[in-house]
C-alpha cells in the first residue's frame, strides 16, 4: 500500500520564479492538506483540498494556490518566489474533510530559493 508520495524531492529556484509541487494521497484517502515547514520550525498549514475545492486556508498570501484532481492528487503552486519561501513543503492526506482523523504525511519537497 503506497503512502503519500510527493515530487520533486528537492528543487532550486531563483527569486521571482514559479514552482509547482505534486502530491498523491495514500490509497483510500480523498483529502489533501499542504503544510510549509521552515528549518527548525513546526509545520504551518497552507490549505486543504476536498472534492476538488479549497476548503480551508491558512495565513498565506495569494501567491500560494493549489488544485485537486478527480483522482484526489493535488498540486501546490507558488508564484513570484521570495527567499523566505525556502522550506520543506509537506503534503498530508486523510479521509473526509473536517474530521480529526490521523493525517499521513509524505516525505516532503525541499524548495530552495536563491
Amino acid at each position: 500500500d503506497a503512502g503519500v508520495t510527493q515530487s520533486p524531492t528537492h528543487l532550486i529556484k531563483t527569486r521571482g520564479q514559479q514552482v509547482t509541487l505534486r502530491c498523491s494521497p495514500k490509497s483510500g484517502h480523498d483529502t489533501v492538506s499542504w503544510y510549509q515547514q521552515a528549518l527548525g520550525q513546526g509545520p504551518q498549514f497552507i490549505f486543504q483540498y476536498y472534492e476538488e475545492e479549497e476548503r480551508q486556508r491558512g495565513n498565506f498570501p495569494d501567491r500560494f494556490s493549489g488544485h485537486q484532481f478527480p483522482n484526489y492528487s493535488s498540486e501546490l503552486n507558488v508564484n513570484a518566489l521570495l527567499l523566505g519561501d525556502s522550506a520543506l513543503y509537506l503534503c498530508a492526506s486523510s479521509f473526509g474533510a473536517g474530521g480529526t482523523g490521523e493525517l499521513f504525511f509524505g516525505e516532503g519537497s525541499r524548495l530552495t530559493v536563491l
Binding site: G98, T100, E107
Partner: protein, 111 residues
C-alpha cells in the same frame, strides 16, 4: 490566537534515562491533540491522537497523556533509535481539521 508550546526545545538523554516532553495549549475548545515523530529530512510520522482529558495512549517506550491544559509524552528507557524531533499538534473546535503545530522538541539519546 490559539497557540501550542512545546518544551524543552532540545533534550539530551543517556540510553535508559527516562524523561518527559511537554506540550501546552491555550484552552479554547480542543477537538484533538496529536503527537508526531519527525526524522531529519523526512515527513512527520503519526504516533498518537488524544481527544479528552485523562486519556492515555502507549506504544512501545512511548506513553502520551492529556490534561485540560497540556499533554506529556513520556519516554521510558529510551534507545538511540528514539532520537528524533517530536511534534505536538492540536485541532481546535473552530479550526475545522487544520493542525496547529508546536515548534517541536529535538530529542537526542546517546548510547
Amino acid at each position: 490566537e490559539d497557540q501550542v508550546t512545546q518544551s524543552p526545545e532540545a533534550l539530551r538523554l543517556q540510553e535508559g534515562e527516562s524523561s518527559s516532553l511537554n506540550c501546552s495549549y491555550t484552552v479554547s475548545g480542543l477537538r484533538g491533540l496529536f503527537w508526531y515523530r519527525q526524522d531529519p529530512g523526512k515527513g512527520p510520522e503519526f504516533l498518537f491522537t488524544l481527544y479528552s482529558a485523562g486519556e492515555e495512549k502507549e506504544k512501545e517506550r512511548l506513553k502520551a497523556t492529556l490534561t485540560k491544559k497540556e499533554s506529556f509524552l513520556h519516554i521510558t528507557a529510551p534507545k538511540p533509535e528514539d532520537s528524533a524531533t517530536y511534534l505536538c499538534a492540536v485541532v481546535w473546535e473552530t479550526s475545522g481539521s487544520r493542525l496547529t503545530f508546536g515548534e517541536g522538541t529535538q530529542l537526542t539519546v546517546n548510547p
